[in-house]
């Protein structure tokens, strides 16, 4: 196998890197791909807090990278989704445990066993960023429609281009009503400034938080708009030509009801 190593990054914190990594990883696994999601931060473990994964962690990415264990030992199999594996972050706060070189070597091994290796990059552009970007073939930049997030994404895009990686963009946490009212940047505004290929648009969706708490994979929920957006993103990453869907404002319950019973026409 000659898998792809893809870093998911953003610059700014809390914009949805971990959510995107988990969802895209799950969605690719549902397409029958062998997927490893690698926690370069401590985010994915948090995401799995509710699913009792914590007590199954024996080895982590540093152990695997340094050859203290086999990759198979560090990769924890997801309980509900076949072909999906998590390689957890190191618990120790020794920041020098990983280097770009060590990560390049680890990913060389991971490529042999997985179709996709997704690296959940920590916020910022420091060491953790360098470690995550060094082994990457491709990059996905996540940003939200906020000025500060766009600014940081722009910075990261420049750094990625400087390493000859062409990034693609996910705009997350879009609130269509706010965009309509001019209270939120539209995805066009964001793409205008960042000027990179758009991979997908993900709306703000309460199901994201619920799924984090219950551990039920978002991409398996047919009624989760965010989950479905991430599935389409995964298919685009697979090379399928699927048009970008723009999140639409939900008609309120009363309006819908009005249409059904024939008033408010």
């Amino acid at each position: 196998m000659d898998g792809k190593v893809i870093v998911i990054t953003s610059g700014k914190g809390g914009v949805g890197k971990t959510t995107a990594t988990a969802c895209i990883g799950a969605a690719l696994a549902l397409e029958n791909r062998q997927v490893a999601v690698v926690d370069m931060d401590i985010g994915l473990r948090n995401l799995d807090g509710g699913m009792g994964l914590e007590n199954r962690i024996v080895f982590n990415v540093v152990d695997a990278a340094k050859g203290k264990c086999k990759i198979k030992q560090a990769a924890i199999k997801d309980r509900r989704i076949e072909n999906l594996y998590l390689i957890p972050a190191s618990q120790s706060d020794n920041k020098d445990a990983l280097t770009p070189d060590i990560m390049v070597r680890l990913c060389k091994e991971l490529r042999k066993e997985f179709d996709y290796v997704l690296l959940d990059c920590p916020a910022g552009i420091e060491r953790g960023f360098e470690n995550s970007v060094a082994p990457a073939d491709e990059a996905v930049v996540v940003c939200t429609p906020e000025v500060s997030s766009v600014r940081d994404a722009d910075r990261v895009i420049a750094l990625l281009y400087a390493r000859s990686i062409t990034p693609r963009l996910i705009v997350n946490r879009i609130v269509p009503e706010m965009v309509e009212n001019g209270d939120m940047l539209s995805h066009e505004d964001v793409v205008d400034v960042l000027s990179v290929e758009l991979l997908g648009l993900v709306p703000l969706d309460n199901q994201v938080v619920i799924s984090t708490n219950t551990g039920a994979p978002l991409v398996l929920q047919k009624d989760s708009e965010a989950g479905q957006s991430f599935r389409r993103i995964a298919l685009r990453m697979e090379g399928q030509d699927i048009p970008i869907e723009i999140p639409q404002a939900q008609k309120s319950f009363w309006k819908k009801l009005g249409i059904i019973i024939g008033i408010g026409k």
């Binding site: 600014r151 722009d154 750094l159």
Partner: protein, 239 residues
């Protein structure tokens, strides 16, 4: 270059091989001569810079004091390289300023080659300038592309952006307040011209060509097409 001014003028000027030949009547009042010289040299603009001027007053005898005065005046006001006095003999034939076609019958210096003697440095960059990136130019800076918020441009001279300006632009550094900043879509975070800083630049919603300049110690932003700031210049000038 037809720099031979109105015949009525008592001070006449023409381009010769390595500079200008100025014919004047030394019996005229000194301040009148200065006034007339100012008028004709103003029309030459930068061409006067470093040029060799010959004053033809019908011979050098007895003109030392006025020559000294005019020499100091032309050097300080127009930065000419030298001021000599013509002998009593007739002036040389008018020739192209670049001297390549000596004896050209047209008696017109070759204006298009004159510009080759001047140069004005510009750093020309194509592409998008992103957040965190900083571009510094010794003199002028030309960006063919957009300048994103979070980026910084610094230039000794003008900054000309064929795209939107969303970052910080510092023109005329450190102290050239004659510099301008020009962009299509003027939405800078901060601009500075020479030592003057404008932090709250009114954000333009339109996609028109606008420029910032210093006016009475303040930075003003204006519509470039409407203002046409250099349209009034009587002579093309090197910046």
């Amino acid at each position: 270059m037809d720099v031979q001014l109105s015949d009525k003028s008592q001070v006449r000027l023409k381009g010769v091989r390595d500079g200008f030949w100025v014919t004047l009547d030394p019996s005229l009042p000194a301040d009148y001569i200065q006034e007339e010289l100012t008028r004709v040299f103003n029309q030459l603009q930068h061409l006067a810079f470093n040029s060799h001027v010959t004053l033809d007053m019908g011979g050098p005898e007895g003109r030392e004091s006025i020559v000294e005065m005019l020499r100091a005046f032309l050097k300080s006001k127009f930065n000419v390289a030298s001021v000599a006095v013509a002998p009593a003999s007739p002036p040389p034939k008018e020739v192209p300023v670049n001297g390549e076609h000596g004896g050209d019958k047209s008696h017109k210096p070759d204006m298009s080659s004159v510009w080759m003697e001047h140069h004005s440095d510009a750093l020309v960059i194509a592409g998008r300038v992103r957040s965190g990136q900083k571009i510094t130019a010794q003199k002028h800076l030309v960006i063919l592309g957009d300048v994103n918020p979070g980026s910084e441009l610094i230039a000794g001279g003008d900054i000309l952006i064929m795209g939107t300006l969303g970052g910080i632009a510092l023109a005329g550094q450190p102290d050239n307040e004659a510099a301008i900043i020009l962009a299509i879509g003027f939405k800078p975070i901060q601009i500075q011209i020479g030592g003057i800083i404008a932090t709250e630049v009114p954000v333009s919603q339109r996609h028109t060509l606008e420029f910032a300049r210093v006016d009475h110690g303040d930075i003003v932003v204006e519509d470039y097409i409407k203002t046409n700031p250099f349209g009034r210049l009587t002579w093309p000038e090197v910046r």
